[in-house]
């Protein structure tokens, strides 16, 4: 229980009580002394009643632990009165980290009888940038009936909240990776494949991936057994994210990490909304690996992992793609989100050739790191940066691969929804 907020009339009441008392004593006026004592009694009663029923009040917060930027979020506060007194004019203050107006206050005017509870909900906007925030702690407070004293109690209810970047529907993605079905469709078929759906267990054959070994079945049978999965009718969408430390450039909302995360989130969102299963691969100091899956819960998991990504890895994007290429499903689409145009085009060409031979659909999204303020590398001249960019665009044109180069001058909110985002190269 801390502090007291001064009522606007509290000071006046103090002066009135003191003035009447002094004047009464000076003039021997019983009425003035009595009036002074009456005011003093107000203070005494107010001080006694300032925390009336406060100890019996409990508050539980219920809020979904994730939201998108600029979302309106409803936070439920369950106010319970476990005390013996009726509660009235109860103020609950909550700290909502994802909002600029971080302190949210709700009033329960009462009466809230003992052993009763009421659900209050405040609604607020997630006005901050994407990232991890906290919600809480909570304060619950009451006044005396005259508002002369205020008492409040701090409740240590702090919960994390993930704020995902605002996503944009990338309409150009549909033209590259198949159409969304309006009618119900089978997502997989009960024959051996690589979907996320479980088909059964069989004996190990030489060449099977060790990661598919079913260890409990192997322990029971005493010989290697592997899981079999159904074949995917809608091939998964794979997002490769470049988290090499040398790609760091720019600050704040104009940084390569910002562009990578926002573009990646929009790609995942669009693919998920089209019914595709999505997976994410990246190599920072901590690996970013989200296995294939579909649905809102999986999207939320993928976005959660994505906003925790840091550009502190040592693996270049071509190395990363080469490493995971054998695990990509035939016929699936893979988006490569890189943070620099200073790449070995010959190697990229080799990778694209491999994609073509394995029936994979590549999608190249390169963030022009040279256009951002350099952090860990020397600044390149404007002509050199433009030369690299043009060379890369020309390479995309010649290879006939859908792709785009995003510079600092391009606003993602306007660029990503464009139908011709990936050009007409394919």
């Amino acid at each position: 229980m801390t502090g007291a907020r001064t009522s606007p009339h509290r000071r006046l009441l103090v002066f009135a009580a003191l003035g009447a008392g002094i004047a009464g004593l000076v003039t021997a006026s019983t009425a003035l002394v009595a009036a002074s004592l009456g005011c003093a009694l107000f203070f005494f009663q107010a001080w006694l009643l300032r925390s009336r029923g406060l100890d019996g009040l409990r508050v539980q917060r219920q809020v979904y632990g994730a939201a998108f930027e600029e979302d309106m979020v409803g936070v439920d506060l369950l106010l319970e009165n476990h005390g013996a007194r009726e509660g009235r004019l109860i103020v609950i203050a909550d700290t909502f980290g994802p909002g600029l107006a971080s302190t949210q206050v709700a009033l329960e005017p009462g009466p809230l009888p003992p052993q009763r509870r009421r659900r209050l909900q405040y609604r607020t906007f997630c006005s901050r940038q994407w990232g991890m925030y906290t919600v809480g702690p909570l304060w619950v407070g009451t006044w005396d009936p005259m508002g002369l004293f205020h008492a409040q109690r701090r409740l240590e209810q702090v919960a994390p909240m993930a704020l995902y970047p605002r996503v944009h529907e990338i309409t150009a993605l549909g033209a590259r990776t198949g159409r969304a079905a309006l009618s119900p469709e089978e997502l997989s078929a009960p024959r051996t494949g690589q979907s996320a759906f479980y088909l059964g267990v069989r004996d190990y054959w030489p060449g099977d991936d060790w990661r598919s070994i079913h260890w409990p079945a192997m322990a029971r049978r005493g010989e290697p057994m592997v899981r079999e999965r159904e074949v995917d009718l809608v091939p998964p969408f794979t997002l490769f994210v470049d988290l090499h430390r040398e790609g760091r450039a720019g600050v704040g909302t104009k940084s390569t990490l910002e562009y990578v995360v926002r573009v990646g989130a929009s790609l995942l969102w669009t693919a998920t909304r089209r019914g595709q299963s999505v997976q994410v691969v990246g190599e920072g100091a901590d690996p970013l690996l989200v296995p294939a899956g579909r649905g809102e819960a999986h999207l939320s998991h993928a976005l959660f992992e994505l906003i925790h990504a840091r550009q502190d890895g040592d693996t270049s994007l071509p190395d990363l793609v080469e490493r995971y290429l054998p695990h990509l499903h035939s016929g699936s689409a893979a988006a490569l989100v890189a943070v620099t145009t200073a790449v070995d085009l010959a190697r990229i060409g080799y990778l694209l050739e491999t994609f073509r031979t394995t029936n994979l659909q590549p999608l190249l999204i390169f963030v022009d790191g040279d256009s951002f303020a350099p952090l860990h590398r020397p600044r390149v001249t404007r002509a050199e940066a433009e030369g690299r960019r043009q060379a890369f665009v020309q390479f995309l044109d010649e290879a006939g691969v859908p792709g785009v180069v995003l510079g600092i001058e391009q606003e993602l909110a306007e660029t990503l929804p464009r139908p011709d985002l990936f050009g007409v190269r394919a």
């Binding site: 009522s7 606007p8 009339h9 006046l12 009441l13 009135a16 003035g19 009447a20 004047a23 009464g24 000076v26 003039t27 021997a28 006026s29 019983t30 009425a31 003035l32 002394v33 009595a34 009036a35 004592l37 009456g38 005011c39 009694l41 107000f42 009663q45 107010a46 409803g74 319970e80 009165n81 476990h82 009235r88 004019l89 103020v91 206050v105 709700a106 009033l107 329960e108 005017p109 009462g110 809230l112 009888p113 052993q115 009763r116 509870r117 009421r118 659900r119 209050l120 909900q121 405040y122 609604r123 607020t124 006044w143 009936p145 005259m146 508002g147 002369l148 409990p216 079945a217 322990a219």
Partner: protein
């Protein structure tokens, strides 16, 4: 300022307005009654009308006053405060030190007129500190008169001040935090009674127990009724004026603050959504163990004792673990554990009741297992098997 339909903020605001009026009117009438000998019922009625008109005029001139910019408004307030205290404080000191021959009657009339003026301009500032200060000074003057009038002024001043503070608190709080529809007027009245009645009782007790004689040498109207210091005719008129005036101001306040059907809210705020009041569901009570009668019960109780001892030894039986799996977990001594488990399964699920021999054998086995568990202690307790997932 208008309030949404279904919200009793309008009622609370109107009640607060009524309390401001009651505080002003009671202080003015008490001071006039104390220091103006010629005051009759019509004078009080005239003051009641004048103060009500001032208060309601303040509601009308409020939009015009709000257009004055903050700098100019603050300048006006500061100058007014300097002029007010420069004029009033010396007069108050003179009145307190020499109430009979001092400027008290004149000061009373000046303060009463200022009270009306402060009510008109009360919306110039955010609070109503000037109205309150002036009203308290008028009450102080009335108390200085002594006698019944002084005592009555003290009681009414404390009561009106207490009522105003409670309703002002409700009004400010409900204005600051949107609370949604509901009735709080009754709550405010309950709080008012709880806070004001003890103070009124205390003040009344004091002025009755230690009555102050009015200052000598001053003839005022209330003394004409004879030996007593009470003029019931005046007192009745004052009471009627207070109650009638306050009620009229409350009704007028409700009328003026109603929301017109075609009027839109000035600012759309996200009011918190409030659910219904529900009873807190107490946590479920612990299930009472099922009583097994006869020989089956004796074996089950023996097995339960082993479970309890095993739990204390660090090997609790998980809800999904069967008796045979638990026997495997406990391990040693294998013979007694196996026979006790077998007896328990037959007693719990078997078609026939166990014999006395079976019961004695099970109890003996249970005793051995318990003894073994106690000897073993926590250090070399058996480990549960690894959880297997298929």
């Amino acid at each position: 300022v208008s309030t949404p339909a279904g919200d009793d903020r309008a009622a609370i605001d109107a009640a607060r307005l009524g309390m401001v009026y009651f505080l002003s009117l009671s202080s003015v009438t008490n001071a006039v009654q104390a220091w103006t000998p010629s005051s009759g019922p019509w004078v009080f009625l005239a003051w009641a009308v004048a103060l009500a008109a001032s208060l309601l005029a303040a509601e009308r001139v409020a939009p015009a006053l709000e257009t004055i910019d903050a700098v100019r408004r603050n300048r006006i307030l500061v100058l007014s405060a300097i002029a007010y205290f420069g004029l009033v404080l010396p007069s108050m000191v003179s009145a307190v030190t020499n109430p009979i021959s001092g400027p008290t009657p004149t000061l009373t009339n000046v303060l009463a007129i200022l009270q009306a003026a402060f009510l008109v301009s009360s919306r110039l500032s955010e609070g109503i500190g000037a109205v309150l200060t002036n009203a308290l000074l008028l009450s102080l003057l009335a108390c200085l008169r002594g006698g019944f009038v002084g005592g009555e002024a003290a009681v009414v001043a404390v009561a009106s001040l207490g009522c105003f503070l409670v309703f002002d608190h409700y009004s400010r709080t409900l204005a600051a935090y949107p609370a949604g529809p509901g009735s709080r007027l009754g709550l405010a009245w309950k709080d008012t009674a709880a806070m004001v009645l003890p103070a009124v009782a205390l003040v009344s007790l004091l002025v009755v127990a230690v009555p102050a004689e009015p200052p000598p040498g001053r003839t005022i109207s209330v003394r004409r009724s004879g030996e007593r210091d009470i003029d019931w005719r005046i007192l009745r008129a004052v009471m009627i004026v207070w109650v009638g005036g306050t009620s009229a101001v409350y009704v007028a306040g409700r009328f003026m603050r109603r929301r017109r059907p075609d009027e839109e809210a000035i600012l759309e705020v996200l009011d918190p959504i409030r659910g219904h009041v529900e009873r807190i569901v107490p946590p479920p009570e612990a299930q009472t163990p099922v009583a097994y009668p006869g020989s089956r019960g004796r074996i089950v109780r023996a097995y339960a004792r082993v479970l309890s001892e095993a739990a204390q030894s660090g090997v609790p039986r998980a809800p999904g673990v069967t008796a045979d799996e638990f026997a495997h977990v406990v391990g040693e001594p294998r013979g007694p554990v196996a026979s006790l488990t077998d007896a328990f399964v037959r007693a719990r699920y078997g078609p026939t009741d166990p014999t006395e021999t079976d019961v004695l054998a099970a109890e003996s086995a249970a005793a051995e297992v318990i003894e073994s568990l106690r000897r073993r202690g926590l250090r070399d307790r058996p480990r549960p098997p690894a959880h297997q997932v298929s």
